[in-house]
């Protein structure tokens, strides 16, 4: 069953068409990878789904409901959580307070929100940092905080924007472990990622875009073999 559908979604920035008639369907419970070279429109697509800015054309449907005109906070309330590629921790708040602020969405009382926040810190392995100010965290912990904060809004669909970028190999494995754990808890995941090791190993299906247009879609193996994908990443091979 489809949880998220994009129908011919486009976004123009002035004369630049950053996303060009992209369509895809994400099924309930899967990990859906969105890949493409730098500047291909992956993050823009995320920003369209969570309505950081409006789509120029097309329709975005979440659980059968058209969310294209909804505001960011309304989309979040419906059950779409997200992280940011450039992490946005609430710097002058502690890690715990960051997550409490998120947990308030479903648990308006201070006591419940705090309890939930502690639960999510534990789930994501950030409990040792609960009392630290968010600005003092390492990049790996900041990425993890992004995920924790998104999870505390109790999403049905989680959009992960390059949560593995900048991590060392050990941290990378931990990140993969966390993502799989989140999926196991019943959350559908759309992930944008540059690191092929991550995206190839965890995605059920992959959608590849270049210059804002879809160039391939399928299982990781199919996409990895697709000549158009290879060309987009490596440029024209041979023949010169």
């Amino acid at each position: 069953m489809a949880i998220l559908e994009l129908h011919e979604v486009s976004k123009n920035f002035g004369g630049l068409r950053a996303v060009d008639r992209v369509s895809f369907t994400v099924d309930q419970g899967e990990i859906f990878g969105l890949i493409g070279p730098n500047g291909s429109g992956k993050t823009t697509t995320f920003n369209l789904i969570s309505h950081v800015y409006p789509a120029s054309a097309g329709k975005i449907v979440f659980q059968g409901r058209d969310i294209t005109p909804l505001k960011t906070h309304q989309i979040c309330a419906l059950g779409v959580g997200r992280t940011f590629q450039v992490v946005k921790p609430l710097k002058r708040m502690t890690v715990l307070d960051n997550v409490i602020a998120s947990a308030f969405l479903r648990h308006p009382s201070m006591k419940d929100a705090r309890q939930q926040a502690e639960k999510w810190l534990d789930f994501c392995g950030l409990t040792p940092y609960a009392g630290h100010l968010a600005r003092g965290l390492s990049i790996a912990s900041r990425k993890r905080l992004e995920i924790t904060r998104a999870m505390a809004t109790e999403p049905k669909l989680l959009l992960l924007d390059e949560t593995a970028a900048g991590l060392n190999p050990g941290e990378l494995d931990e990140a993969i472990e966390l993502i799989l754990k989140i999926r196991k808890s019943g959350v559908t995941i759309v992930i944008v990622e540059h690191i092929m090791k991550v995206i190839m190993s965890i995605s059920d299906r992959i959608h590849c875009i270049n210059h804002g247009q879809t160039i391939a879609q399928g299982t990781p193996q199919e996409v990895a073999r697709d000549p158009k994908v290879i060309e987009a990443y490596l440029g024209h091979g041979g023949g010169h």
Binding site: C76, F84, K88
Partner: protein
């Protein structure tokens, strides 16, 4: 602390100093309200005078035109200030960054011009004169104290609730706040309305206490709007007690300059037989705005979190010293 404030007027019997204490308390209220909007919610406003003046005129005009006690106006002053805040917020909050600050700057100035030009309602530059209720300063002192305590308790409660978390989230990062389900426009509006309410109440109390207002006094950019910012910055932006400390310092400082060192400089110049010191005295008494500017630069450079926010740092310096 509260007990001390309750008993203070029995120690400080001089009406002049009681007057200063009342001003301090008014500034505690205004500074605390500004701090909620700017310090906690991150929406820097240059428009405190807009709400202060609206509160003052609400009380003044009710009394002037309808003969209703200006104390009723005090209850209403905060509400009317919120009524002004609402459309203002609706227009400016979808904007980001400096645009809200610029809009708020315009708000105070627009209100000042309205009050100046709309003579049939406001008497324009002539101003509004009403009879004060009390001759003694004590009742005013306690009302101002109640308002100041109310404002601090309000902010204290807010910061420990969901509302406070949402305000601070918006201050730290609006995109992140929206992404965790916070309706940023709505919560900025709530913060603005609280700021407007407190400032409007303070304005109405000012009307009751002083008995006279005109557009230049209550809609003053530097004496109200900038002063509100200074009170919070000097005391500590985003700290609960910062504006209270800042209010005390700023009112004292303003008074030292206005009176040229409580007349000390004048005495000095007389003793020295006029000339040079007379000139100095004259300039010092006019230089309070300049001194405020210098003070802000010094505070921002050395104590970016204000006196309360950087208290640990101040203590360290003195211990070492």
């Amino acid at each position: 602390m509260l007990a001390l404030m309750l008993l203070l007027p029995f120690v400080v019997r001089e009406p002049y100093f009681q007057h200063l204490l009342i001003l301090v308390l008014l500034w505690v209220t205004i500074g605390t309200g500004w701090n909620l909007l700017a310090g906690y919610t991150g929406q820097v406003s240059f428009g405190a005078a807009g709400f202060f003046g609206v509160g003052a005129y609400t009380a003044g005009l009710l009394s002037h035109h309808l003969g209703i006690s200006a104390w009723w106006g005090m209850a209403l002053g905060g509400v009317v200030a919120m009524v002004v805040a609402f459309p203002f917020g609706a227009i400016t909050f979808p904007l980001r960054g400096a645009y809200f600050a610029l809009g708020s700057l315009a708000l105070g100035e627009v209100m000042r011009h309205v009050a100046t030009i709309w003579e049939s309602l406001t008497e324009g530059m002539v101003g509004i004169l009403i009879m004060q209720t009390f001759i003694s300063k004590l009742p005013y002192y306690y009302i101002a104290l109640a308002l100041a305590v109310f404002s601090i308790v309000l902010v204290h409660q807010v910061t420990r609730s969901r509302l406070g978390y949402y305000f601070v989230s918006i201050r730290e990062d609006q995109d992140a706040a929206a992404s965790i389900g916070i309706n940023t426009t709505k919560y900025k509006m709530i913060s603005l309305c609280m700021h407007a309410f407190l400032t409007g109440m303070a304005g109405a109390l000012y009307m009751n206490y002083m008995g006279f207002i005109d557009p230049h006094v209550v809609f003053s950019l530097h004496d109200i709007s900038i002063m509100a910012i200074l009170v919070a910055i000097v005391g500590g932006v985003g700290t609960l007690h910062g504006p209270a400390v800042g209010a005390f310092i700023m009112v004292a400082l303003q008074e030292v300059f206005r009176t040229a060192g409580f007349g000390g400089l004048k005495a000095l110049s007389d003793a020295m037989g006029g000339g040079f010191m007379t000139v100095v005295t004259k300039y010092v008494s006019q230089a309070h705005v300049l001194a405020f500017g210098i003070l802000v630069v010094v505070v921002i450079m050395n104590l970016p979190n204000g006196i309360v926010g950087d208290w640990a740092r101040i203590k360290r310096v003195f211990r070492r010293g």
